[in-house]
């Protein structure tokens, strides 16, 4: 298929891997991918082992579900138990553990949770079932934020009184800056998330490059995209440079998607927020703006999302920060498996632990 197959061409992949191995220095450059889709794609195509010894690929906090705190799941469950409420959610939230339970387990006990593919489906449901209060679990990064915002705007335009969103939206560059400053992680380059960048463009990474002197390359999702970005990062290291480059120009314009950013600016306002396993990162969250307060489930239904650093044997925090590999977690593959995940990284196929479990990690 156009835009996909060309970027999977095995002969080109082989040639590029060889080129990277020739150009790599010693010790291997430490690169972090901060997107779950990259994590899954790297695992699926075996790139980590193909590149082992040449570059070391470390996974960051790649997935909005993974970094959603258990307090959010608890608030969603509390909401679901109120009479007349229907929760709507992307599918992979259902098995994410809260403090005591999951949405899936509570659904078996009778709360109404429906999986939707788009937040607009939740708006359509609200229009179709005016007697029920429809709450969308608005979890996401910058890629999803405009879709959630677009749904809120649509509900507002249609004057729906029975639709609201429980927001859990996080923005990536602030988290990358925290990770960049962490001496234990020692990141030498970022594979910047392609679809987040579709929305925000390349400018938000400039500070990482200039202030933290970390090369940043915006990266697509096919094997050749990732290898291209890796080789551009190696080239920057060799030059002693730290710039922002774009290896995914077919998807990412330097200025991002203006319309999507306008929707975000209209519907949301920046706030401090907690990341599962990482802690509170100032300015890294989006709350619903006062203009759309009527669509904010937290305010409308009085179910505050309480953030506390979780006390659990799950080492997701260290996995999300690239400090350990999943097999180094004592629960990995034993108490924690995809069918019965203890931590969110094991929940969906893009979770770092799930990707390792399914494909094996190869060598670092």
């Amino acid at each position: 298929m156009k835009f996909i197959d060309e970027f999977r061409d095995p002969a080109a992949v082989r040639a590029l891997v060889e080129k990277i191995r020739r150009d790599a220095g010693d010790p291997p450059m430490r690169l972090m991918e901060v997107c779950g889709t990259h994590t899954a794609s790297i695992a699926r195509s075996g790139l980590r082992s193909l590149l082992s010894g040449a570059v070391s690929l470390v996974s960051g906090p790649g997935c909005p579900v993974c970094v959603t705190p258990d307090g959010y799941v608890d608030a969603a469950i509390a909401l679901g138990h109120k009479p007349g409420i229907t929760l709507t959610s992307f599918g992979d939230m259902l098995r994410v553990p809260g403090k005591r339970s999951t949405l899936e387990k509570e659904r078996a006990k009778g709360i109404d949770v429906r999986v939707v593919y788009s937040p607009l489906d939740a708006v359509a449901l609200a229009a179709a079932e005016p007697d029920r209060e429809i709450v969308f679990l608005g979890v996401g990064f910058e890629t999803t934020a405009p879709a959630i915002g677009g749904a809120i705007r649509t509900a507002s335009d249609r004057k729906l009184k029975n639709f609201s969103v429980l927001p859990s939206v996080r923005t990536i560059p602030e988290a990358m800056a925290i990770l960049a400053r962490d001496p234990e992680i020692r990141i030498e380059g970022f594979l910047c998330p392609g679809h987040v960048s579709v929305v925000i463009g390349t400018q938000p990474y400039e500070e990482l490059a200039s202030k933290h002197h970390i090369p940043c390359v915006v990266c697509g999702f096919e094997p050749l995209d990732i290898l291209l970005a890796v080789s551009m990062l190696l080239r920057q290291k060799k030059e002693g440079a730290a710039r922002v480059e774009n290896a995914y120009p077919r998807g990412v314009a330097p200025e991002g998607n203006r319309k999507a950013r306008e929707v975000i600016a209209e519907v949301f306002a920046p706030c401090d927020t907690g990341w599962r396993g990482i802690g509170v990162i100032p300015g890294s969250g989006l709350r619903i703006s006062d203009r759309y307060a009527a669509f904010d489930a937290e305010r409308k239904h009085g179910v505050p999302v309480i953030f506390a650093m979780e006390d659990t044997p799950c080492r997701c925090g260290d996995v999300l920060k690239g400090k350990i590999l999943p097999p180094e977690c004592p629960l990995f593959g034993k108490a924690c498996v995809p069918e019965e995940p203890v931590g969110p990284c094991m929940v969906s196929t893009e979770g770092t632990c799930a990707a390792y479990y399914k494909y094996g990690g190869g060598l670092r």
């Binding site: 779950g36 997935c63 992979d92 979890v139 879709a147 579709v198 077919r250 319309k259 893009e350």
Partner: protein
């Protein structure tokens, strides 16, 4: 959950498009994207088209690849 995939626009009605995504047809909102026409390729995420893909830009990636492949290495073979 951040799965966004290239899809082809089959038809457009107002702010809505019918798209082909991995062999199946689906609706996608065009609320977040300007200037989309039938036949275009778009990246779709959570029911919204968020960017247009152009062959020109894809060609640019291959040009980058070529440049990288042809750049010198430290080692001699």
């Amino acid at each position: 959950m951040c799965l966004a995939i290239p899809a082809k626009v089959l038809s457009i009605e107002g702010d809505n498009a019918m798209i082909e995504l991995g062999g199946t047809q689906r609706e996608a909102s065009l609320m977040l994207l300007e200037g989309v026409s039938v036949g275009d390729w778009v990246i779709v995420h959570a029911g919204f088209a968020i960017e247009k893909l152009s062959e020109e830009d894809a060609a640019q990636t291959f040009a980058l690849l070529k440049e990288i492949m042809e750049s010198g290495s430290d080692e001699v073979h």
